[in-house]
Each structure stands twice: as C-alpha cells, then as structure tokens.
C-alpha cells in the first residue's frame, strides 16, 4: 500500500512540473479567492441539521432569510432528528432540527459536555389518517386505530364499513413520523408484524388511492383529493374531528406534534437573528405556506 501511495505522489509531482507557470499563478489566485470566501462564509454561516420532515420548511425559511439579509448564510442539512441532535452534542451544528422532543439521554449527554440546549417550537405538524375515497368509513376512535395498526382489527366491517380486508400502510421504521404515530396513536405498542411500509409519503398516497381497503397516515400538508381523511376521536367516540389547519390550530384535532429547533444557549447570539426571523410573522407565513401550522 505504502509503495503505491509513493508512486501516486511521484506521478502527481510529475504532472505538477509539467504545468506551466501561468497555470500555477491562476491556481494560486483561485485558491486564495476560495480561502477568503470560505472564511467569510464561516464567519457568519449557520448550520442546521436534523429532521427530514423539517427539511423543506427550513430550506424555504433559510432561503427567504438569506434574501432578506444579504451576506448571511444558512446551510440546511437533513439526516433525521437523531442525527441532528447528535450533531448538536458534538458541536458540529448550530441548530438541530427535531420532529420529536429531545430525549432524556441526549439532554444528559449535552450536559456532560458542559452545555445546555435550548428548545424553540417553530411550527406544528398534524398527521392525518387516510383511506381510499371509496371507503364508507369516516369516523374512527383512537382505540380503533390502535386495533387496526397493531393487527387486532383486520376487516372494515368490524368498524362499520364494508366486508373488506384492511390493508395497513406505514412509513419506514426510521422515519420520525413513524415514531410519533406509534407514540400518539398506538401508545408505544409495536405496529403489527408484516405492515406494508413505504419509503415516502408520496408512495403511501399513491398506494392508498389505488387500493380499496387501504389505510395509512400522512402529514397534513400532503392531503389531497385522491385519498379520504378520517375524522379522529381521542375521547372514545364523543367528538370526531377532521384534520385541518384550523382544527390543529385550535387544538381540537389530537394527532399534532410540535417541530423543534435546539441550540446551545452559549451560541444564542449567533443564532438569534435567524430564529427571530422564523418566529416573526413573515417567517410564520412561510410556515403556513409550506403546509405546517404556525405557532402563533
């Protein structure tokens, strides 16, 4: 291996020698220019990392923020809520995006490094339970949903529908949406063995729209006319609430989760302008435009 490396170095050396002086000068100039540029970026850049659910939202926000404030840079990366918070602990991101609350263990890890995280709720996201438009069932209670998603209820006639097998669609296990639905609707029980899992929300909608007995869950922003949204009751069938931005905002719709930004308290000065922008009426207008529920 080592001799190989040496050989490669030798070759590179040869190539370098062959280059004309003009090239060298150009290269130097370019290098200096990029160095200066990158320093400038590092001076004001903010890095956001985390939840893929929040990725489109944060990207849109960052885009508009950079348009309004020339010279400031915000970089947004996905990777998942867990990845984002891990990056915050390792100090490789300024803000962690998370579609779930920081876990106790993660908080502890942060404290071990002598820092404290601060939490900001930037938006809310509602999950809608959807079925095929041909399905007659409109209302389901949480208990019925739990039965369906854990595999206890297998036929639509058990919940007042036609005699049709229930086909349950879910997101992949890695998704934050999967975890949240499990926590909120299934009360931490596992999904049934052999649930159909789809790689993306778009695929879930597509499959449900072409399968008669299908049921699944998607973010409110993805609702469209090719699927039917179920009215959900969390009080054993007293009131059924339709998923809508208005119902999520006035807290009558139960399957709603907050979306968070986490940052190090010590770095507050650095991230404050961006967070202020996100929470401003301008930023919150973008939140509703992307399809989430604004905080205020």
């Amino acid at each position: 291996m080592k001799s190989n490396c040496n050989n490669i170095e030798l070759i590179l050396h040869h190539q370098k020698k062959n280059q004309t002086k003009k090239h060298k000068k150009m290269k130097k100039l370019l290098l200096i220019a990029t160095l200066i540029l990158s320093f400038q970026i590092f001076a004001t850049a903010q890095v956001l990392k985390g939840s893929d659910t929040m990725l489109p939202l944060s990207q849109k926000l960052a885009e508009q923020y950079m348009k309004a404030n020339k010279g400031k840079t915000v970089t947004v990366n996905g990777g998942g809520s867990g990845v984002g918070i891990a990056a915050l602990v390792d100090n490789t991101t300024d803000i962690a995006m998370a579609s779930r609350r920081i876990k106790f263990a993660e908080k502890q890890k942060m404290q071990e490094t002598g820092r404290t995280s601060k939490e900001v709720i930037v938006a809310y996201d509602a999950l809608a339970v959807v079925v095929n438009p041909a399905n007659q069932v409109t209302n389901l209670t949480r208990e019925q949903l739990e039965g369906i998603f854990t595999g206890k209820i297998t036929n639509w006639k058990q919940v007042g529908g036609a005699d049709l097998k229930i086909i349950v669609y879910s997101r992949e296990t890695s998704s934050g949406t999967y975890e949240f639905f499990k926590e909120s609707v299934l009360k931490n029980k596992n999904y049934m063995n052999g649930i159909m899992s789809m790689p993306a929300t778009g695929a879930i909608i597509q499959s449900i729209s072409q399968t008669k007995g299908a049921i699944g869950y998607v973010g409110l922003a993805y609702l469209n006319s090719s699927v039917k949204a179920i009215h959900v009751s969390y009080d054993k069938g007293k009131t059924y609430v339709a998923p809508s931005v208005a119902n999520a905002k006035n807290k009558t719709y139960p399957i709603v989760r907050p979306l968070f930004y986490y940052y190090d308290i010590k770095l507050e000065k650095k991230v404050k302008p961006y967070i202020d922008y996100v929470l401003s009426s301008e930023g919150q207008a973008i939140v509703s435009k992307v399809g989430y529920i604004p905080v205020k």
């Binding site: 291996m1 190989n4 050989n7 490669i8 070759i11 990777g79 998942g80 867990g82 990845v83 891990a86 106790f104 263990a105 502890q108 854990t150 049709l164 097998k165 086909i167 992949e172 296990t173 890695s174 998704s175 999967y178 975890e179 931490n188 029980k189 596992n190 999904y191 063995n193 052999g194 649930i195 159909m196 899992s197 789809m198 790689p199 695929a203 597509q206 499959s207 072409q210 399968t211 008669k212 007995g213 299908a214």
Partner: protein, 402 residues
C-alpha cells in the same frame, strides 16, 4: 523521442498495475469491513444498549427471552403466569413514566434522587417490569432485581421470524423473512425473464433481418439505461394496479409485482449477453449442421445453444445478480412487509430494500446498524454462491452438448 515513448509505455504499465492492485485491495477491504461491522451484532445485548430491565425482588422470574420482552411491552403477554411466575397481571413501566409520577424538582440536583424514586416505584409494585437506563438504575437497592439478559444469538438472528429493528426495549432482528423474500422475488423474476430473454436473443441472432435487428437492439439497449427509480415508479403506478385487477387481489404490491418488474429490468442484460454468445457460434459449426440436412430449428437448439451455453449462463448470472441486488424498484412495488411469504401474491420485504430504507437513520455503530451490515454480508454470500455456480457451469467443455 524514443526515450519519451518508452517512458510513457512504462508509465502506463505502472498505472495499470497500480489500478489493478488498488481495485483488488479495495474490494478486499470492503468485504473485511462488511464482515467486521456485521459480526458485532452477536456481541450486542438483546436489550437496547445502556438499558436494563428491573423487577420486584419477590418476582421469581429470572430471565426473559428477547421475543417475550417484546410481547410483554406490546401487552400480548399480560400475566406473569405465562413466564412461569406468579399469577398476577404485568405492569409495564417505562423510564419516562417516572416524570409523570413526580415533579422535576423532586429529583434533586443533577437527578441525584432519581434512582431512589425508581426503586420506590419498583418496591411498591410487585407485578412491575421496568425498562430503565443503567445510569439511573436503582442498583444494589433492596427489593429490586435486575433481569438477566443475553446477547443476540445466532439463532435469534437467522431463525427469527420478526424484523422490528426499532422496537423497544427489545428490537427483533429475525432475517428469515427477508432472506426468503429476496430469494423468492429474484427466483421468480429469473424464471419469467429467462425464457423471454432467450427467445428474444434467438430471434435476434438467428431469425431477424438486419433492419429489425438494428431497431430492436437499439430499443433493448435503451431499456438498460433507464434508472431503476424510474422503473420503480412505473411499477407502482402501472404494474401494481394491473396485478391487483388481473389476479383479484386485496393489494397490488406483491412479490409477483416485484418479480415482474425485475424481470423487465433483467431482460436487456440477458438478451444482449446471450445474443452476443449465439452470434459468436463458429460459422463452420452452423453451416456444418445445415449441410448435414438439419433444419434451422434443429441447428438452433442442437448446435447454436449448446455451443454458446457458457455465454447464456453468464447472462443468467448477470440477470440474477441484477435482480438480487436491485433496491429502489423493489422498494417501491413489493410493499416491504417483513412476513414469511406464504404465496407469491403477498407483500414481501427484500434485503436490499431493507438496507436502503433503514441505514440512513440507524445510529452509527448501534445494533440496528450492525444488523444491516450483516444483511449486506448475507447478500454478498448469496451472490458469491451464484457466481461460483456459474463459473462451474461455464467451465464445462464447449462441445460437450454436441
């Protein structure tokens, strides 16, 4: 001038040697890395790292298997009697529940009193099973007993029938449904693609006229250039509803849909490789056969096919390789349900689809991550066995069938 030319020659030679060596070393390193990461899973405990299960000291149950732990926390097993314990309902207690019982201030500075509070809860409930982090666990306290847990065993992994990698406290890593799913989908795909592909190859090399051949070959090669995710989307929107309607199924995302799509994807490889092999049949053989009075058809299946059998088997292997390793297309049309496939018309989950869907969010170095690497190893071994088989087939003497 001569010197420079010689130098360039040497230089190119050196480069070729280096690139050959680097490729070999890289492949070996990848394989070693794969197995090293994957083997780690057998050293991981059944329960999530950093956590333990605790029960009341009076509880006679000493150890619980991984599957039973899952069943308890899913409330499928709800009485200690089923685990040879006392006849009492099981009370499931998760770490976060403690924060609903006491206010944050009661735990003192830096959660010093937390273990004590947890111990109190366990002491007061004889029927409890508590899932707690080691860090705050009530260790060595009166009335609290730690449940013994083993490491994930070879049998758990290869014999398990449930794949629930994020289930807590005990993730289930049963790969049997995944392996069977992968093999089923690829096998059926090759069964569909092989006769079709061979037919087209025979037509192209023996029967088609030059013009048709030209256009057909161009189209088929175009088929090979379509990205697999496009195939996947086509499958989801077009094939899935067709399969559902034709076979009157509840759901169109089945192993068969995946096989059908994979067959379409493997066709270009099978056709081009086997057609090339047939075209390369020595003219003397072909003409000799015709001269002896054999018909065109007799020539094809008695002379052309046997003489190009090694090329055809190479085509089959490449086709199977494509089918087994295919990720995106399968991910979109097979439904990805990790169940043992009872029939061809049920959803299945394949190994590549599992890796693609889960690796992104599996915490690096964790049990789930290692399990996915081990899946990669299994896939590697399957393809290796197939390649070796193909090698053996193609080593058969060229004219043995004549």
């Amino acid at each position: 001038m001569k010197k420079i030319r010689r130098f360039i020659g040497r230089f190119v030679e050196g480069m070729l040697t280096i690139s050959g060596m680097v490729t070999t070393v890289t492949i070996l390193l990848i394989v070693i890395f794969l197995f090293k990461e994957g083997a780690g899973i057998f050293k991981s405990p059944v329960i999530e790292d950093g956590y333990h299960l605790y029960v009341n000291a009076e509880n006679p149950v000493k150890s619980i298997s991984s599957y039973d732990i899952k069943q308890i926390f899913d409330v499928e097993i709800d009485n200690w009697k089923e685990l040879n314990g006392i006849n009492e309902e099981i009370m499931v207690f998760r770490f976060d529940d403690i924060f609903n019982l006491y206010a944050e201030e009661e735990f003192g500075e830096n959660y010093k009193l937390l273990p004590q509070k947890l111990a109190e809860v366990i002491q007061n409930n004889k029927n409890i099973v508590a899932y707690l982090p080691k860090q705050y666990a009530p260790k060595n306290m009166v009335g609290v007993k730690e449940i013994e847990t083993k490491n994930i065993s070879f049998f758990d992994f290869f014999g398990g029938k449930e794949w629930m990698p994020t289930s807590k406290p005990a993730a289930q890593f049963g790969v049997l449904p995944l392996i069977l799913g992968t093999i089923l989908v690829s096998l059926v795909a090759i069964l569909i693609a092989l006769p079709l592909g061979l037919g087209v190859a025979i037509y192209l090399s023996e029967l088609a006229n030059e013009k048709i051949r030209h256009y057909l070959k161009f189209t088929i090669e175009l088929l090979a250039g379509i990205p697999s995710v496009v195939y996947g989307f086509f499958g989801l929107v077009v094939l899935v509803p067709i399969v559902q309607r034709v076979f009157h199924l509840d759901v169109g995302e089945t192993a068969f849909t995946g096989s059908l799509l994979l067959a379409i994807m493997a066709l270009p490889t099978i056709i081009t490789v086997s057609e090339d092999a047939m075209k390369n049949t020595p003219k003397a053989l072909r003409e000799g056969s015709l001269a002896l009075g054999a018909t065109k058809w007799q020539t094809i299946y008695r002379v052309v096919i046997p003489s190009s059998i090694s090329g055809i088997s190479a085509a089959v292997v490449l086709g199977i390789g494509r089918a087994i390793g295919e990720t995106m297309a399968v991910l979109m049309v097979t439904g990805n349900a990790a169940i043992m496939p009872p029939t061809l018309f049920q959803p299945v989950r394949t190994i590549p689809a599992t890796i693609a869907a889960e690796l992104g969010e599996a915490p690096a170095g964790g049990t789930h991550y290692q399990a996915l690497f081990l899946l990669g190893c299994i896939l590697f071994l399957i393809t290796m066995v197939i390649s070796i088989t193909a090698e053996l087939i193609s080593k058969k003497p060229q004219n043995s069938g004549l």
